[in-house]
Amino acid sequence: MEDILEIGGEKLNCRLFIGTGKYPSDKLIPKIITASGAQVITVALRRVDFSAITQNVMQFIPKNIRLLPNTSGARNFEEAVRIARLAKAAGCGNWIKIEVIPDNKRLLPDGHQTVKATEILAKEGFVVMPYINPDLIIAKQLVSAGAASVMPLGAPIGTNLGLKTKEMIKILIEEIPLPIIVDAGIGKPSDACEAMELGAAGCLVNTAIAASNNPVLMAESFGKAVIAGRKAYLAGFATKQKAAKASSPLTGFLYEEK
């Protein structure tokens, strides 16, 4: 059975998205891509050095992977828009992950500014993937603004705490007609698997892979977990029952012979 995730006209077979930050060496990146099967990789434009005389992250990203530049470092919508345009001009394509983070302590995103940036960039033809708190109202505004997907956080960036915002993410999955890709906070493959079981369209994982003692093995594990969760979602779960039904204490009287 073919199970395709379509974003911005592109057909993806793999629902795990990966990052490029925090690795002990950028040389690991091609191995991470192979091991995880990922077809989309995000990179912070502020870290890219197009005139580098030293090693640079871009050298290690193969040509056949979809580049998803992100606006890391943007504190408001103007900065995000400027970074997105620069990314496009630098040849990074028209996909953009919007991160507007005015909070350096907890790294939480500014939904309002994100919506503004999305509106502008979608009109300019960008495939916009905004990173937000799982807030239904903001997500709806992003739909109207022309986002290509919505990327809610499972927990604050880098915390590896898992799906702390699970109930809110479930609401987005039910209410938003765009692919929901859980981004940030995923600490373990089982967290990614759980997100997929809930019906998320994909997961973006960076820290949990990059900061592992064996990033390549962890990347493979995440790739498999996402597949497992997705298949479980597609298969449909058998209903849960706490205890076996013995009698009908509430409606039994209806069937009593008089």
Partner: protein
């Protein structure tokens, strides 16, 4: 409201009594917490906590990796002028020291910048002495204009400015400010800074906040460890950083840990900071502020710098010269302090890579 109000709250705090009350169980409990408060942080600076250095290091290591990854951002200082009107008792550039002074012209700055750029480092830190009439804001602004051609991140470590002056330099492309209170101890500060522009404790104390108000991207503060009792200055540095982070959420707050080094002049270091103490301070700060940058310069010895890479540091200078014109013009006679780690950028890169960490040359660009 300024950080001074916070300082006043703890100015007469009974540190001795507090430290005596810290127990081993208290330290164990603090180390098990997800986030710690001010007094927990102070407890980690106690004598009792020094028996838990390995536990503190492990926690600091974990927090640093999850927040920053296995990476060290490299930067390099450029001294463009060492004229100074201050007479800070502990500094090689003090006006009292009869040294050969230098003030680079714009061509010389460009020559130095070109030479530094050959290392591949994209983050530069511009330094001057404290002589606003010689190294004027305008001179610094024009120097930034030159550095912009070669570097993507430009920091300044100069005399304290007003919000308006910071704004001028930020508009020109400065994205980070390093400014050290040296000591938070107001009385001692007055003694150590008897003359010059730096004499004004409050103006200095408020400078990082003025820069935040001018919307600077990143501020780096610190105390010159060894001037006062280190527990106090480390504590106030942490409180100051926390104050800035909470009030200016969009600023990236970092802490430098300079230990006082030998230099021209005859200042006697009153409080020696051992390697153990340094590690205790650094890991305590990391546990208190998991997202703060921690900067360590070439004041520290090569082997020690290698050893602390896993303990919480996020930024390091490399291939540094602490004298004006020290890269291309070869004037290495007058230094602000003696550099201890003299390794080249290339060697530093190798050392970091060998520890399975990534040396980062570019992490920022004013866009």
């Amino acid at each position: 409201m300024s950080f001074y109000d916070t300082y006043l709250k703890y100015k007469n705090f009974d540190f001795k009594n507090f430290f005596n009350s810290v127990t081993e169980n208290k330290i164990k409990y603090i180390l098990s917490k997800e986030r710690i408060n001010r007094l927990d942080f102070l407890s980690l600076l106690s004598e009792k906590a020094s028996g838990f250095l390995e536990d503190m290091a492990l926690k600091s290591h974990k927090l640093t990796i999850s927040n920053f990854g296995k990476v060290i951002l490299l930067f390099i200082p450029i001294y463009i002028s060492d004229y100074c009107s201050n007479s800070c008792l502990y500094c090689g550039f003090s006006a009292k020291n009869k040294i050969q002074r230098r003030h680079l012209n714009y061509d010389q700055i460009e020559t130095e910048a070109k030479k530094i750029a050959e290392t591949g480092i994209k983050h530069i830190l511009l330094l001057t002495g404290d002589a606003p009439k010689i190294a004027t804001v305008d001179y610094i602004k024009n120097s930034v204009k030159i550095l912009k051609k070669y570097f993507s991140g430009i920091g300044i470590e100069i005399y304290a400015l007003t919000q308006n002056e910071y704004n001028i330099l930020i508009q020109e492309g400065v994205d980070s400010l390093s400014i050290y209170q040296e000591t938070y101890n107001e009385k001692l500060y007055a003694k150590l800074h008897p003359a010059g522009h730096k004499k004004d404790y409050h103006f200095r104390l408020n400078a990082p906040e003025s820069a935040c108000m001018a919307k600077i991207r990143s501020v780096n503060i610190g105390a010159l460890l060894g001037l006062d009792e280190w527990q106090k200055d480390a504590f106030f540095t942490g409180l100051h950083a926390d104050y800035l982070q909470n009030k200016y959420m969009d600023a990236e707050v970092s802490i430098s840990l300079p230990r006082i080094r030998p230099h021209a002049g005859d200042f006697k270091i009153s409080h020696q900071i051992t390697d153990k103490t340094f590690v205790q301070i650094m890991t305590a700060i990391r546990i208190f502020m998991p997202r703060a940058g921690i900067t360590v310069s070439t004041r520290e010895a090569p082997e020690f710098r290698n050893n602390i890479i896993k303990l919480g540091v996020t930024k390091m200078s490399a291939g540094s010269s602490a004298s004006v014109g020290g890269y291309a013009l070869h004037n290495n006679d007058t230094k602000q302090f003696d550099i201890s780690d003299t390794r080249s950028v290339k060697k530093m890169e190798e050392a970091i890579t060998k520890l399975n960490y990534q040396p980062v040359f570019k992490d920022w660009q004013t866009l």
